[in-house]
Symmetry: D4
Subunit: 245 residues, 8 copies
Amino acid sequence: MQPPATPDEGTVHLGHSRIDVDRRARTGDPEVVFGAGKSPQQVVEILTTLHAAHPDTAVLATRLSPESLDAVEQHLPGAVADRLARTAVLGPLPPARGLVQVVAAGTSDGPVAAEATVTAQVHGARVERIDDVGVAGIHRLLAVRDRFTEADCLVVVAGMEGALPSVVAGLVGVPLVGVPTSVGYGTGAGGLAALLSMLNSCAPGVVVVNVDNGYGAGVHAARVARASARAAAAPAADGGQAVLS
Amino acid sequence: MQPPATPDEGTVHLGHSRIDVDRRARTGDPEVVFGAGKSPQQVVEILTTLHAAHPDTAVLATRLSPESLDAVEQHLPGAVADRLARTAVLGPLPPARGLVQVVAAGTSDGPVAAEATVTAQVHGARVERIDDVGVAGIHRLLAVRDRFTEADCLVVVAGMEGALPSVVAGLVGVPLVGVPTSVGYGTGAGGLAALLSMLNSCAPGVVVVNVDNGYGAGVHAARVARASARAAAAPAADGGQAVLS
Amino acid sequence: MQPPATPDEGTVHLGHSRIDVDRRARTGDPEVVFGAGKSPQQVVEILTTLHAAHPDTAVLATRLSPESLDAVEQHLPGAVADRLARTAVLGPLPPARGLVQVVAAGTSDGPVAAEATVTAQVHGARVERIDDVGVAGIHRLLAVRDRFTEADCLVVVAGMEGALPSVVAGLVGVPLVGVPTSVGYGTGAGGLAALLSMLNSCAPGVVVVNVDNGYGAGVHAARVARASARAAAAPAADGGQAVLS
Amino acid sequence: MQPPATPDEGTVHLGHSRIDVDRRARTGDPEVVFGAGKSPQQVVEILTTLHAAHPDTAVLATRLSPESLDAVEQHLPGAVADRLARTAVLGPLPPARGLVQVVAAGTSDGPVAAEATVTAQVHGARVERIDDVGVAGIHRLLAVRDRFTEADCLVVVAGMEGALPSVVAGLVGVPLVGVPTSVGYGTGAGGLAALLSMLNSCAPGVVVVNVDNGYGAGVHAARVARASARAAAAPAADGGQAVLS
Amino acid sequence: MQPPATPDEGTVHLGHSRIDVDRRARTGDPEVVFGAGKSPQQVVEILTTLHAAHPDTAVLATRLSPESLDAVEQHLPGAVADRLARTAVLGPLPPARGLVQVVAAGTSDGPVAAEATVTAQVHGARVERIDDVGVAGIHRLLAVRDRFTEADCLVVVAGMEGALPSVVAGLVGVPLVGVPTSVGYGTGAGGLAALLSMLNSCAPGVVVVNVDNGYGAGVHAARVARASARAAAAPAADGGQAVLS
Amino acid sequence: MQPPATPDEGTVHLGHSRIDVDRRARTGDPEVVFGAGKSPQQVVEILTTLHAAHPDTAVLATRLSPESLDAVEQHLPGAVADRLARTAVLGPLPPARGLVQVVAAGTSDGPVAAEATVTAQVHGARVERIDDVGVAGIHRLLAVRDRFTEADCLVVVAGMEGALPSVVAGLVGVPLVGVPTSVGYGTGAGGLAALLSMLNSCAPGVVVVNVDNGYGAGVHAARVARASARAAAAPAADGGQAVLS
Amino acid sequence: MQPPATPDEGTVHLGHSRIDVDRRARTGDPEVVFGAGKSPQQVVEILTTLHAAHPDTAVLATRLSPESLDAVEQHLPGAVADRLARTAVLGPLPPARGLVQVVAAGTSDGPVAAEATVTAQVHGARVERIDDVGVAGIHRLLAVRDRFTEADCLVVVAGMEGALPSVVAGLVGVPLVGVPTSVGYGTGAGGLAALLSMLNSCAPGVVVVNVDNGYGAGVHAARVARASARAAAAPAADGGQAVLS
Amino acid sequence: MQPPATPDEGTVHLGHSRIDVDRRARTGDPEVVFGAGKSPQQVVEILTTLHAAHPDTAVLATRLSPESLDAVEQHLPGAVADRLARTAVLGPLPPARGLVQVVAAGTSDGPVAAEATVTAQVHGARVERIDDVGVAGIHRLLAVRDRFTEADCLVVVAGMEGALPSVVAGLVGVPLVGVPTSVGYGTGAGGLAALLSMLNSCAPGVVVVNVDNGYGAGVHAARVARASARAAAAPAADGGQAVLS
């Protein structure tokens, strides 16, 4: 593998792409490589470059092909690859602030839930997983409802009819992100049914990301958790009696 | 109003339409007038004609405009008009066989639930209504779950994300028809989200009708109830040990 | 193959999924494995686990890949695999109560009709098949119309323009489930044309399931048949003269 | 009303539009005014202009508003206005050559069937109407099937699930044009279900026009009839034994 | 290969399908095998069966895979296979009556045009091909416009924006069937743009078939040609002066 | 106006609907009336009932018609009606905790931004408005970018191409909810373009609500702010060094 | 009318909106008011404000309601209102540089063509109109083809099947913008067919704007013309022999 | 390889296609081969034929498969193949007149930007590339904004939410073509989100081509540049004071 390029003014020029190594300063988020469409060698090279620029914190790669995961494991022994989530993480995780719960309806939603989990961890949140609580067996969901109130943000992953976020959002007032998955067939193929279901939730306050976008949900959820932690470190931010603007 | 035409060979020729007065013999269902796009006078005339052909059982008119409902009340004092369901019924109801429960998620789903209710009654079923049990307040639904097992068929009406049939179908093994309603806005306008949600239910055995089609759901549910009653009057129909064909 | 896990509180934890072994008590339906996306080993393992929990009645696996069907035949000699339906059944069938007729328009609709057939049998109904009665040769359909009145529930399977349920529902008053299939090309590819056709049937009482969802139709149809049988065992359920609510 | 403009080189310039008075020579079809979006005065003016250019044969106006129909009746006493078809015809009809049958599924399809009827007559065909033969009452359709073989071209009009053309095309080998109508609601609103149904017909040789386009179907059907008549006037056109090109 | 089954009452039962050998008597069309989804052996078997039932006229197979075409050539030496059209024809063609012109916009539309051509020939029409006359080079189209008037029916095949039928239909009054093809990419992928374009043609009388459905267009066009020939053999069918119904 | 009904077990039964007065205890959110489809009298009655059950905190009504706003102002002098937001608020606002910024692209997005603003205030957040910062004049957006870092949650409202959330989310790491609006025409009519744009944002962590759903965005944003405040009142919640699960 | 506000730092704050009066310096384009959704008084006020800031050049208002057009004519006697284009122009036009031809398929496309015309003139181009050259009468189009070569940019407006840009772009190499219009019905309603047709044109180099967006096409076309003029005033810009990058 | 066919009357007949060698005289554009669906041998053959007819200027082939690129490199040593753009160019480039800037949002948009680049060069423009300026890192875009004013036409390529053209068009008044790319997943798959975003841009004057159609954008942009150069060679084309038509 060729040696990584030298960072310059917040941008690193590799042969195949320009890497924005300034994003962290701008947004507080770690650097991320979107692995789809990139060769195994490119993935390894970008991870190496980003890690060299930020040796003190984790960088994340998502949507990795099996070949890219193989290459990461072979060339970057310090990286942690996750075959289910299709991710790799290189460098130490940040301190975990706040709690994100990732709730999944069924076994088939596992890969997307795993991507959300790894992403939220790399973005600085503690994560709990709650699995197999689909709405067709509501008793399993109700058995864990008390746990939901402990979370700073919920990520609720479901395919097929995508009803789970509506039911969970009716149980607690915790901020909640719905993630539709492309699990299904016929009119549900591609996740359209689940996406529309979540966008039209009868429960208030459900926000949504694109189909299978566990990464986006993980980023948002971790940001919410980080905001909680930031507030905890500062004096109480009560703004007094509100007035309607 | 001009006098109704004379029935002839199973068909009545009015000026504006040919009425099939033979349907009942063919399918066991009552005669029905689809009122959308028909003038108040036409509605009254067709109801009168069908009632004359079948004085011993109810005929049903659906999708009536306020003007048509006014005309029915004025010209057909024996008819029962329902402003919410937008229906009118003329003639005695058949004996009620079996039990249909019509379950509605929210207040806005009321008109469709009412259409399903009247339809099932005219088609020979007893009907119970269970209202305001949307999934965003799951405790209200669970409070009535034991009642569901008493039904011969469930008609579950919901708009927005349309999750209610999935949750109910996970609770009981009763035959269940989902009815999506056009309640909603944005991407949910027109009922598409609810329809797709029900078609892609993760709970097994949910069948679906078109958006706002309370009539179709009522017909199917009543037929299921009638089948139950027919079986009850006959010797037990156990077919012995099944074999895979 | 590793030994199956031990059931505990209605749920079995295998390495890859949590199995709900309580569903039968809740809904009266048998246990089912949705085989899509599962490895042959996982399918065999789950079937084994479910069968151990319910040795006295059949468990069903659907959407099996050819490899999973091979594995079932090799490792579970007591199972019955159906290559056309892509199903496997392990354990004795329940007594057959009521009659479901599965009606298919054309040869290409065969796999979906077969899935509906096996499903209804495993869910406790007797099943008859009526094939190749597409609407483009209406004489073949009319030749069998008298048989339709014997059914407790009809499952009507059709691709392309999906007109068959409309025609059949105009002939008899038996409860009828339409199953659109993804047979077709151009604008009909994916089954959208057939699905919309059935949702918009001019014949009253047609209910619909998702494209290619023979399983869902089979469950509903068998439930209708079971309801008929339950009624037959109890005193007549006539509710007296109905009243409009 | 201002006096009509003078024709010049196949085009007449009115204040509001340029009228192509040469189309008849080019295609053999009569002149037609598409009335949608035109004022009553414009409709009258264009009809007057076209009639002056072609006094020996009919000109047709379609999609007329009630106000335009009023204006035509008031200002053009020689014109024949049809309130159902929303058409007006000015000038003598051409000789009727060949037979077009316009077949309609239900009462609501009447306006589109009427537009097809008038159009085919103005384009030189004899037209028969066959109404209320929807597929939900297949016996009414079968009662008239022998008549279909007499037609040179069939125009089959249906809304909702749009199944009628498939059934008719399975009965006879006559050229057949399907016309989907916007009759319906929910997913069928706008005629999409009927259009897709006809495009995906399992019966061979069904051709289709746009939703509610009775005019287009009438033009095509009359052209087919005219072709038949042209052939009848000439010596037999048998091309001998065909060869595969 | 196993010996073909024996015909019985208009239907032949092979192991895998029931063949309707009565269609020709009913519609005048030849027998056709839709080859998609059928194995090479099944195609050969059905062709053999149909040819045995109708040795005096051609049977047609469409949508054949390369493997099925190989099998036809190997096992049925009397058959004519067309690799571009993906068709096979077995048995003598009927006499050619009337003229169908198949007009194609570009080279990529060739397979669909070829399917329409073979189909029309097997259904009894003489066929001429006019190729590479897309609207982006309108001079090539105008160079052949005089030939269009000789046709009894035009089949106009185009992908991408599908404008060719509109332009041709503006030039002549011959019956015209548009065939959209799935040639294109982006929003045009799948033929939707071409289909909508043809359905919304500003030229009157354009009728349309499903995307890539050269077969359907060929059947319709040949029927129009056969109608012309039938008329030619009979006394002139002038219906006298038409009257508006 | 009839006197309000008596609360009972968390539910109040009015003639027209059952009101859930228990939601606040369950989720911490205030009571809300969705005004669409309700009569002015019903809106007033439900607001009165909810206010009687919760006199110490605000209740909110959204999507009010002008007539309902009139009725609220006439009958409930203590209520604050907002004509732009189409909302009414009755009862004292809760203390404002945390800061929500509502950012709007253009003047036409004002009503949706106003609904989000009022909702977030009623749900307990302080709100700042930043208007007219559409991406076509990027200098206006950059002029206020430093303010964004002060917010606990951003609500970014945009119609047409909906690009604003992507640009803002690239500037700061604050949790951000995009709200597409139905401002636009042609292919953008109904807000589809803006919705898809936000779902597919190239900036990480953008979450989305349904078109025009300012209410949903306001609920989520206020919940995020409340979470921040809850954390501030408790000891620091640092979870120590995270580990990849 | 209240006196207009004072400009300040490139932005004028009226009560209802902030006006960007700096756009001209940034892009060279004039100021424009999008009138949809604005009251007549607001339109007049904004036009007055913009004209005060830029008295030496025209400002444009588009999508004006009849009431706004009335108000403009009453309150701004110096303005030129166009009822067909639904525009108003206040202030002197810029010098006309370059030639834009606006080509329209039919009479119904007139309003969109008029909007494009006025827009291009206000943005500094000379404009010629060529009307009624739809593809169904190709001879009219060919009669004017030589004129197309004189234009610096063509704006081609068409509804229904939208084929005109493809045909024109095949005739000349002039830059060409297609504008689909919402003229049509059925599947063509809303302009989707025309939009897709233009996006998928088989003629190279056709660019497209949103449905009915005559304004956008006018801006682009005038910019192309201004670029031509700018080049004419400078020394020749030949870049020498190109090299493939 | 067989020898190329002889040109004749502006058309060359190869075995597999008719080549229009007259297009250059008609439109001033070079000859182009659309390589999708053509075999490597066909591509080489057509390039050879076109080059023989126009040896003094470049011919272009697009959408070449890797195999076709291999064949071009092997058989046509004078050709320049571009693996990223999937193009091949044979013959000398024309003189470069005017400047096209091709601006790309991200690395994944590279192939489409490369196709636009090569196309514009072959069509006679000088091209500059500006890469990796996506809106999520707006500082990179602002760093290059001054360069945009030097272009005669901008081609702006973006996938996902496709916001880049809106932002760029708000910065400068240069003619701008947006090219949506199929980069993305979920609801963005296929480029629909980016396409709708660009069609609905809030910035005036953005014109659009089909998804991934770098070729079409390159043709239009080069034509704009050629128009600029043509104007530069002629006397100033100021048309004097414009008048509203």
